[in-house]
């Protein structure tokens, strides 16, 4: 199966790599190194006076119980987003895979939300569920339930989870659908002949064969929830009420970009970077073992 292209020239492969490496260095390594450097400094917003602060930025953060609380909200948020995103899209993909008529229309509609920018998705959901004018709010209120995410932290969390998940379902759906279509029909049919029902066929044959896809999506979704969701939060709750939806990446953005606290923001981004590295390593070490390729 392995295909190998052999380069005769000594420099050509390196030359071909240069653009990619340059992009990675300029847009990833360089800012990351800068963040690392800034995290040990105390600086005014304009960068006029800079002073080495040692570990002060980190110590300040770790003493702040609200910062520690945002670890918890981040964990809750990412678990909910990743788990519900994967579960819902798997369900949708299995159903879309069985549709015979109009399959293309279903698939297109399911992929559509991926084209929506996170901020737009946030605004959309915020409008639907707005405490005073939201159309869904109206229905919920009619049902006798007090819906007010502007003040109720749990409801605010639910809202941002819904908005963030909705946006990610399309992406997951695409991968699951491709995964399902690559499962040999003969395996499923053989099981059916042996008398296995649809649910048993799914759990013993289809799901294990999908495990590489599921694992990949788990990693991608966790990274998405950690890093890519601040647009959703910025356009809906802005971390409120009372910090209930203040996830780590949003605080990095808020403190650094909006509040001009570069040292504090950099220290947070270094911590965040460490967490994601640790999470990814853990996922590959412990969960990947259960994956059957």
């Amino acid at each position: 199966m392995e295909k190998r292209v052999v380069f005769r020239s000594a420099w050509l492969p390196y030359a071909l790599l240069v653009p990619q490496i340059a992009v990675t260095i300029v847009f990833f390594f360089w800012p990351a190194a800068q963040a690392f450097w800034f995290s040990f400094q105390l600086q005014d917003a304009f960068g006029i006076s800079t002073e080495f602060a040692g570990l002060r930025n980190f110590a300040d953060l770790l003493r702040d119980e609200h910062y520690l609380a945002s670890f918890k909200s981040t964990a809750v948020f990412s678990l909910l987003v990743a788990a519900s995103g994967i579960a819902i899209s798997l369900l949708l993909a299995t159903m879309a895979d069985r549709v015979l008529r109009g399959a293309l229309a279903y698939k297109t509609l399911l992929i559509w939300p991926y084209a929506v920018a996170p901020a737009v998705a946030g605004v959309l959901w915020a409008f639907l569920f707005a405490p005073s004018i939201g159309i869904v709010t109206y229905v919920i209120r009619k049902a006798g339930y007090n819906w007010d995410w502007v003040l109720q932290g749990d409801q605010a969390m639910l809202l941002v989870v819904m908005a963030a998940t909705w946006k990610q379902i399309s992406y997951n759906f695409l991968f699951f659908l491709a995964g399902l279509q690559s499962i040999p029909r003969s395996l499923v049919e053989a099981a059916a002949i042996d008398g296995a029902g649809p649910s048993r066929r799914f759990w013993t044959i289809v799901f294990p064969l999908l495990s590489p896809t599921t694992f990949f999506l788990l990693v991608v979704n966790i990274v998405y929830a950690f890093f890519d969701t601040f647009g959703v939060i910025d356009s809906t709750t802005q971390g409120g009420p009372a910090g209930a939806t203040q996830i780590l990446v949003y605080k990095v953005y808020y403190d650094g970009v909006k509040a001009g606290d570069l040292g504090g923001s950099s220290a947070q981004s270094v911590i965040l970077m460490l967490i994601v590295i640790a999470l990814t390593v853990a996922q590959f070490r412990f969960i990947e073992r259960k994956v059957q390729y």
Partner: protein, 436 residues
């Protein structure tokens, strides 16, 4: 995508500037959107048409925090604009950046431009002057919180339509409104600005030590006083009894008022234009309610909005242009028009007098409430304004804690103590980073 557009706009501006020829260009970065953006362009065009030597180029740079971030990045890269519009909470950050800003009083003196800080409304100018009375930035768009009342809803509840003056009267009125079936009795925009900052000034209580931070960065918050705690407690009690509906940290409450959902509102005087356009009921604009058992109340309220800062490192000719433009902005005709068309308060005494003389306040009742409330008494060190470092974060901390109280998760005392403690940590950090 956005950065691309920005680069495009910049490139366009650079191209345009190439064709301008002998005129000295002055770049003005601002955050005024929609109708206000048009108004800003009108100001620049008006100035450009009034003389030949200078050309002011007004550039929209995104919302307040964004344009400030953009200017900081531009300053670091060595191409800051001449004039930058900065919102009130960024004042301390700008002041702390001594090498980045050129104080307005100094600029005017150097250019020999006639300028007297006394011509400006004290409650407006005070916010942007140092403790020696020197004006550091030019006030531009200023507003203050006022109290709006839906008179039709009042009548429906059997009330005569006069707005309550004190919080005691307010509670009685609110109860009657509730009893008449009013779903949302009262809501507020900008909770920290209205119920902590302006509450303090209005009752002549300090928000922080060292003249609310104006006299030095070694300031500490004082918002855990018994009076502050009692006020927040009162709001929480209103919330529990369904007399107060929390709407969010910005101006979300305004739409709830002009749609008729909420019968009373405290929010920016700048909301008037919008309310006037949308409300299908009779309403009045009033002074903020006060607690009549706190001595000295009502004092005067403080402003919000933005001012214009001048950046360092520009040529003398360009600075002369800036001073001419500032004089143009402060001229009575321009200010009267700005005040009438935007609802922001006039920044000079002369403009206020001229508007009054012209009978505008009889024609549009309520339009003068903001100025009268700002000038209710001569400002004291407690009511001159405030200057807290990293106050974008500080205000957020206060709002977080208040939300905890309104949701019934915290009592007012704990929350205000917490807000003070957390706020002071932010102040100490700012002080350490801005020593020089």
């Amino acid at each position: 995508m956005r950065t691309k557009i920005r680069v495009g706009v910049l490139a366009g501006a650079v191209l345009l500037s190439g064709t301008a020829g002998a005129q000295t260009e002055i770049h003005w970065w601002h955050s005024m959107q929609g109708a206000l953006n048009d108004k800003v362009n009108e100001l620049a065009n008006g100035f450009n048409a009034s003389q030949k030597e200078y050309k002011v180029v007004a550039i929209f740079k995104g919302q307040y925090p964004e344009s400030m971030t953009a200017a900081i990045a531009a300053f670091r890269a060595g191409n800051a604009p001449h004039i930058l519009q900065v919102f009130e909470v960024g004042t301390a950050t700008m002041m702390g950046a001594k090498g980045a800003i050129k104080p307005v009083y100094e600029l005017m003196k150097e250019a020999g431009e006639p300028f007297d800080a006394k011509n400006y409304l004290p409650a407006v100018a005070g916010y942007y002057t140092d403790s020696k009375g020197n004006m550091l930035s030019l006030p531009f768009n200023s507003s203050t919180p006022v109290f709006y009342v839906n008179k039709d809803a009042f009548k429906k509840a059997g009330l005569d339509g006069t707005a309550p003056k004190t919080w005691k009267e307010f509670a009685a009125v609110a109860g009657k409104l509730k009893a008449s079936g009013q779903q949302c009795v009262y809501s507020t925009g900008w909770p920290a600005w209205v119920h902590v900052e302006n509450f303090s000034a209005w009752h002549n209580l300090p928000i922080g030590t060292r003249e609310n931070g104006i006299a030095g960065t070694d300031t500490e918050f004082k918002i855990n006083s018994p009076q502050h705690v009692r006020h927040v407690e009162m709001l929480a009690d209103f919330a529990k009894r369904g007399l107060f509906t929390y709407s969010g940290r910005k101006n979300e409450a305004e739409a709830r008022f002009f749609s008729g959902e909420c019968a009373m509102l405290t929010s920016s005087s700048g909301a008037q234009a919008n309310i006037r356009r949308n409300a299908k009921f009779d309403f009045s604009v009033n002074f903020l309610p006060y607690h009549d058992d706190i001595k000295g109340a009502p004092q005067n309220s403080i402003i919000g909005g933005a001012s214009l800062w001048v950046m360092t490192g520009k040529k003398p000719a360009e600075y002369r242009g800036v001073t001419k433009f500032f004089s143009y902005l402060s001229s009575t005709g321009v200010q009267v028009d700005w005040h009438k068309s935007t609802g922001y308060v006039p920044i000079t005494n002369a403009a206020y007098e001229a508007t009054k003389k012209d009978g505008y306040y009889e024609k549009v009742p309520g339009a003068d409430i903001a100025v009268r409330q700002l000038a209710n008494k001569a400002p004291t060190p407690n009511s001159k304004g405030l200057r807290f470092g990293n106050y974008v974060q500080g205000r957020e901390v206060i709002e977080e804690e208040m939300e905890g109280v309104f949701a019934g998760k915290k009592d007012a005392k704990t929350a205000m103590e917490e807000a003070t403690r957390r706020g002071n940590e932010i102040l100490r950090k700012f002080q350490a980073a801005n020593k020089s």
